[in-house]
Every structure is written in C-alpha cells, then in structure tokens.
C-alpha cells in the first residue's frame, strides 16, 4: 500500500492506517534525528515529531507529499535543538555558498557514511542524511531544508569533500 493511500485513510480517521504510517516511518525519522542529535535526545525529539505529525495530519493538503512534509516537521524539531549551531554555520557561509549545477554522482558506502557523519558540520550532515540515508530526491531535500535545489547540490558536494577528507584522515583509502 502506498504512503498516499495510508495518509488518506488516516486523514479520514482510520486509526489502523495511522498506526501503519507510524510503524513504517518511525525508524527513518529516528535515524535522521539520531544522526543529527545525541542518543539522549533522539527518542524524545522523535516522539515530539510524531505528536506534531498527528496534530498536523488532518491539515496536510497533498497526501502524496507526505514524506517531505514529515521530514520538514522533523527538521523543525531538530533545528530547534541545534539553533545556535545552525545560526553560526549559516552566518559563516552566507557569503561563500556557490550554486553547483553538476549532477550528484558519488557512491558512498552506508556504514562508513554513518561512522563519519558525526564529525561533519550540521548543514552538511543534514543534507547527507536526507539524501543518502533517507533516499530523498534533491527536490525533496530542497523543500525540507527550504533552500534552492542548486544549494542542495553544492552542499552535497562540500559534504562529500569533507567526508572524504575525514575518512582519509582516519586512514581509509578509496
């Protein structure tokens, strides 16, 4: 059953459909939160996200766009926790971020990525988690992070560069 169908049934008031939706997306949401925050806060923030999702679900106008909507809510909760860090990083690079037009094309192994992620700045970490771990498209990432698609690509490029440097530092050779 597609997400859209589940969302519509949940919006009509079917409790089983809502439960199925939570069961299907709880782990991806937790994964995103955990990669952005420490283990202590991950569970609380995940619960807060689901509460916001349940409260907002009746008003979701495009059930087909459930996933980007879900991660937009998740991101809001995470940015609330990391406000200081986001603000510092955004300020630091307000001048320097260029829009990249080249297509995203890099193979990153999932396990290595998870290990190295913790060392990256939040803006890069966030985009890598959404794009690689959650398998979201560049357009969805752009909607969730409220930035142009070009910025998503340039952040992905920078994130991969940082990641490579990070891995090489640890002695890993591709």
């Amino acid at each position: 059953m597609t997400d859209e169908l589940l969302v519509i049934r949940a919006q009509l008031g079917e409790r089983a459909a809502l439960a199925e939706l939570v069961a299907r997306w709880q782990e991806p949401v937790w994964t995103y939160v955990r990669r952005m925050l420490d283990a202590e806060r991950a569970d609380d923030v995940t619960q807060e996200i689901w509460l916001a999702v349940v409260r907002g679900l009746p008003r979701l106008r495009e059930p087909a766009r459930f996933v980007p909507w879900l991660f937009t809510i998740a991101r809001r909760s995470v940015t609330d926790r990391l406000r200081g860090q986001y603000a510092r990083e955004l300020e630091a690079r307000a001048a320097g971020e260029v829009v990249a037009e080249d297509p995203v094309e890099a193979m990153v192994d999932r396990a290595e990525l998870v290990n190295a992620l913790a060392g990256l700045p939040v803006l890069e970490r966030e985009i890598l988690v959404l794009f690689y771990l959650e398998d979201l498209s560049v357009e969805d990432c752009a909607q969730i992070c409220r930035i142009p698609a070009g910025t998503v690509k340039s952040r992905l490029n920078r994130a991969r560069r940082l990641l490579r440097a990070h891995l090489e530092e640890k002695g890993y050779r591709p």
Partner: protein, 165 residues
C-alpha cells in the same frame, strides 16, 4: 559505531500518541468551543436586551460572564486548531453538532428578545450569522471528506488494477 535503533518501538510510540487521539479529548474540545460561543452570544443577548438602566454591579457581572464564555470559546478553538487532531469524519460530526448548537442558540436568543420586546432585528442577525457560519463548516467538512473518499477510490482502483508499488 554500533548498530543502534530507536528505544521506542512503533507500537510504544502509538501508545504514547494515544492521549491526543482519544475521542474524549476531541469531544471536550468541540464542547468547549461550542459552549463558549453559545454562552457568549446568549449572555450578550441577555445583557443587550435587559430592560431599563442597570446598576454598575449588574453590568460588571454580565461583562464577567461574557468574558468567561469567550475564554472557553478561545480555549476550545485553540485545542481544535493546535492540540487535538480532528480528522475528516470527526470534522463532519463536529460541524453537525456545531450547526445544531447554533440553531438552538439563535432560537433561544430570538425567544428572549421577543419576550422582552427589545426588537428582533439584532438578535436575529447575530443568530443568523452564527447559523450561516456553522452551515459553511458543515458544507466544507462534507466536501473535504468527499474529496478524500474520491481520491481513496481512485487509488484503490489503481492498486487492484495491478499498479501496486
């Protein structure tokens, strides 16, 4: 990094969400909004149609009652928009309850005004406004539910037609 996962299973998460999904909470929110609104209109109508000059204390009492009812209406409105999810079917039910409550309030206000002979114009206008607003909500709730059911039929038609993901 060791493989870790969420401490709460999906089932536990749903259990934690239960309180905000309970029917009692929804009924309470709708009741607070409707009772608040109906109370405000009714007390204001009584106040307005009170014959003769009133002592200051009576004015104060009427004002307090109005504010009190308005506060309940605001609380109910806040619950319904921010705290309690009202799904499409709930919305239809809530809208009909709202319509019944507005018709009753409008009727009561009209009866009070007629008995006191203070002129029916204003009470009827306010009652009419209340009923009209409730009717709009009923129509919107039905339209939204119908749209969702239509889309549901389209999608289930596709799935049984072999296009399942």
């Amino acid at each position: 990094m060791t493989e870790e996962g969420p401490r709460l299973s999906a089932r536990e998460m749903i259990e934690r969400l239960e309180p905000s999904l309970s029917p009692r909470r929804r009924v309470r929110a709708v009741a607070a909004l409707l009772a608040g609104l109906a109370g405000t209109v009714f007390v204001a109508a009584l106040w307005w149609s009170e014959p003769g000059p009133l002592p200051g204390r009576t004015h104060l009492a009427f004002a307090l009652f109005t504010v009190f009812s308005l506060a309940w209406a605001c609380y109910g409105g806040w619950l319904l928009t921010r705290r309690v999810p009202l799904f499409a079917t709930d919305r239809v039910v809530a809208a009909w309850i709202g319509l019944a409550a507005s018709v009753t309030t409008a009727g009561l206000v009209a009866v009070v005004a007629a008995q006191r002979g203070t002129g029916l114009g204003l009470p009827l206008a306010i009652g009419g406004l209340l009923v009209a607003a409730a009717l709009v909500l009923v129509v919107r709730a039905h339209a939204r539910r119908a749209a969702l059911l239509r889309r549901l039929r389209e999608l289930t038609g596709q799935e049984t037609g072999g296009e399942e993901r």
